[in-house]
């Protein structure tokens, strides 16, 4: 039965849906990475929000959320570096192609 305590975890459910929409429809990998973080934040709200008692919030899911946040930032950092590296490689390939093209015409 819904209570006011469900507000934050429900917000989390909305973020999961929104973020997934972003992952599916956004084509730029950096934007997808941002969307993945929105999904993660939604999951954390569900995990922590459903651990709320009348006077206190369960420290156990809180700790899991902190672990999750750190894992998320680690993966995001690697993902971002990978996105940059892919762009760099494609730029280099384009440049080589451009040089070869001008070389052929000369």
């Amino acid at each position: 039965m819904p209570t006011l305590m469900h507000l934050y975890p429900l917000t989390g459910a909305a973020l999961v849906g929104l973020g997934l929409y972003g992952i599916v429809t956004l084509r730029h990998p950096l934007r997808q990475l941002l969307a993945v973080n929105v999904v993660g934040a939604g999951i954390f709200l569900i995990l922590g929000g459903l651990g709320r008692g009348t006077a206190s919030t369960d420290p156990f899911p809180q700790a899991l959320v902190i672990t999750g946040i750190v894992v998320a930032v680690a993966l995001t950092a690697f993902g971002a570096a990978l996105v940059v590296r892919v762009a760099e490689e494609e730029r280099a390939r384009d440049d080589t192609a451009a040089v070869e093209a001008t070389g052929d015409s000369a």
């Binding site: 993660g40 569900i46 690697f78």
Partner: protein, 485 residues
């Protein structure tokens, strides 16, 4: 003292040493292999159902480590694969020509130990959140290794792996909210078929199917596995996909067998059948060797899921369980052997197409033999471990009247014969261009050892069946559960 924690702690200690020492530290492997082998033997000798908590903290607050049959077999196969793949990689991930450190030569080794420790952590724990962290350890190392081959493929792999992990984590969140525990052994005792549990199981399964590259969620695997350097491909196909598979086993057959509808298992079985057919057809159509081997992984993972509906049925379920577990480790050994052999052959001919392989049997007979041994196990021919697995599955299917599964098992074996015969037969063809073979005893021996292991383990069939039966479905050891509700 217990191997349950040391099998994780030792690779992590080696990761630290590898970070400190850089590519000079690659020879740490020579210390790692005997230590990990000793720990693995110790694990295999443990009495059935050995388990203990970490630290001094009982469930549900703490984390339970456990040596069941699946964990014992998969940790052992992982040790064998990682050790031999590591030996092969010693030459590939070495300091540069002038003894200088290179980015790949440096980074491979810490990631290698992270992957090894993460996989062991995943096989040995009964805690679903702990499994999430283990899954991320493995995925991170896997994507970084894939990026050493193709950055594009790695980026795609990364996004897909992340979505899979998040779907899994969403399920863990719902389960914790619902049961106030994420321990499989505790969940098994209290599982209820309510909405939250069903949604959790559904999203976790979807996430894990992505991670294990089960058809139709396999799209990321062939490019990533085919493009990576040979040792990385071998680690990815042999070990990484198995972690997702083991979590599926934990969920479906240990935590929630009581509430799983047979229809849901049938759906997984169908997906497995489609994966076998689709992966095999694609493998037959490939013109490059590593893409062929990668699609073969898609097909071989199909068998694991094909077995799901057979396992839950009471009659013959022991055999199906054993067949499925043995198939997982047979595939590990055979596929690792195949990727390493493929790496050597392609390097020698400086190409990647099947037609480039012609005449190789005269130049590198031992490597072709390793490929052939791996092929015997993948096709399921006697006396290989792959044969034992398929035989057990077939027996279980026939006993249960599952004609469809039996047919897929047979057809899949035939199709494997088709796609594997093709590259092998090429090696016997005549050749007019010279081959530049870099002789390296260690690199030649590695795939051969794995291939021999995959075939000869068939003689230990009964032992493997006995080990795989060691499932502690009875719940957690009484001492591990606290007085906490």
């Amino acid at each position: 003292m217990s191997p349950l924690d040391l099998l994780v702690a030792v690779p992590l200690a080696l990761m630290i040493a590898a970070v400190l020492l850089g590519s000079r530290g690659r020879l740490l492997l020579l210390a790692a292999i005997p230590v990990m082998a000793g720990l693995t033997v110790w694990l295999l000798l443990l009495p059935e159902g050995t388990a203990h908590i970490v630290g001094d903290w009982n469930l549900p607050l703490g984390i339970l480590l456990r040596a069941d049959g699946v964990a014992q077999l998969l940790v052992a196969a992982t040790s064998a694969c990682a050790s031999i793949i590591g030996l092969y990689a010693l030459r590939e991930f070495a300091p540069g020509p002038s003894g200088s450190e290179t980015a790949h030569g440096y980074a491979f080794w810490p990631l290698f130990y992270l992957l090894w420790g993460g996989a062991n952590a995943g096989f040995l724990t009964t805690d679903l959140f702990n499994l999430y962290v283990a899954l991320e350890m493995v995925s991170l190392a896997a994507v970084a290794m894939a990026a050493m081959g193709s950055l594009r493929a790695a980026l795609q792999y990364f996004v897909v792996a992340l979505v899979g992990s998040l779907a899994y984590l969403l399920g863990v969140a719902l389960l914790f909210a619902n049961y106030a525990t994420v321990d499989i052994t505790l969940l098994a005792g209290t599982a209820r078929p309510d909405l939250a549990t069903k949604v959790a199981l559904a999203v976790m399964t979807a996430g894990l199917l992505i991670k294990a590259a089960v058809f139709p969620l396999h799209g990321w695997l062939p490019p990533a596995h085919a493009a990576a350097p040979a040792p990385a491909s071998a680690l990815l196909s042999a070990i990484v996909v198995k972690v997702g598979f083991v979590i599926l086993l934990r969920l479906w057959f240990e935590a929630f067998p009581a509430i799983v509808a047979p229809a849901a298992l049938d759906v997984l079985g169908w997906l497995g059948a489609l994966a076998v057919l689709y992966g095999s057809i694609q493998a037959i159509r490939q013109e490059t060797l590593k893409a062929l081997v990668a699609y073969s992984t898609v097909a071989q993972i199909g068998y694991l899921l094909l077995a799901f509906p057979l396992v839950v049925t009471a009659a013959g379920s022991d055999r199906a369980w054993a067949g499925m577990t043995i198939h997982a480790i047979a595939h590990m050994l055979a596929k690792a052997a195949m990727f390493l052999a493929a790496g050597l052959m392609l390097k020698a001919v400086n190409g990647h197409r099947l037609e480039d392989l012609s005449g190789l049997v005269r130049v590198m007979p031992l490597t072709v033999a390793a490929f052939g041994l791996a092929a015997i196990s993948l096709m399921g021919l006697p006396p290989s471990a792959g044969f034992i697995a398929k035989f057990l599955l077939l027996e279980a299917a026939l006993e249960q009247g599952a004609v469809f599964q039996a047919a897929i098992l047979l057809v899949g074996g035939l199709m494997a014969a088709v796609y594997l015969f093709n590259p092998l037969s090429r090696t016997f063809a005549g050749r007019d261009t010279p081959v530049t073979e870099a002789k390296d005893t260690l690199q030649t021996a590695a795939p051969l050892a794995l291939g021999l292991l995959a075939v000869s383990l068939g003689f230990a069939g009964q032992a493997m069946v006995d080990i795989s039966a060691g499932v502690s479905q009875a719940g957690p050891p009484a001492a591990a559960v606290g007085e906490v509700p």
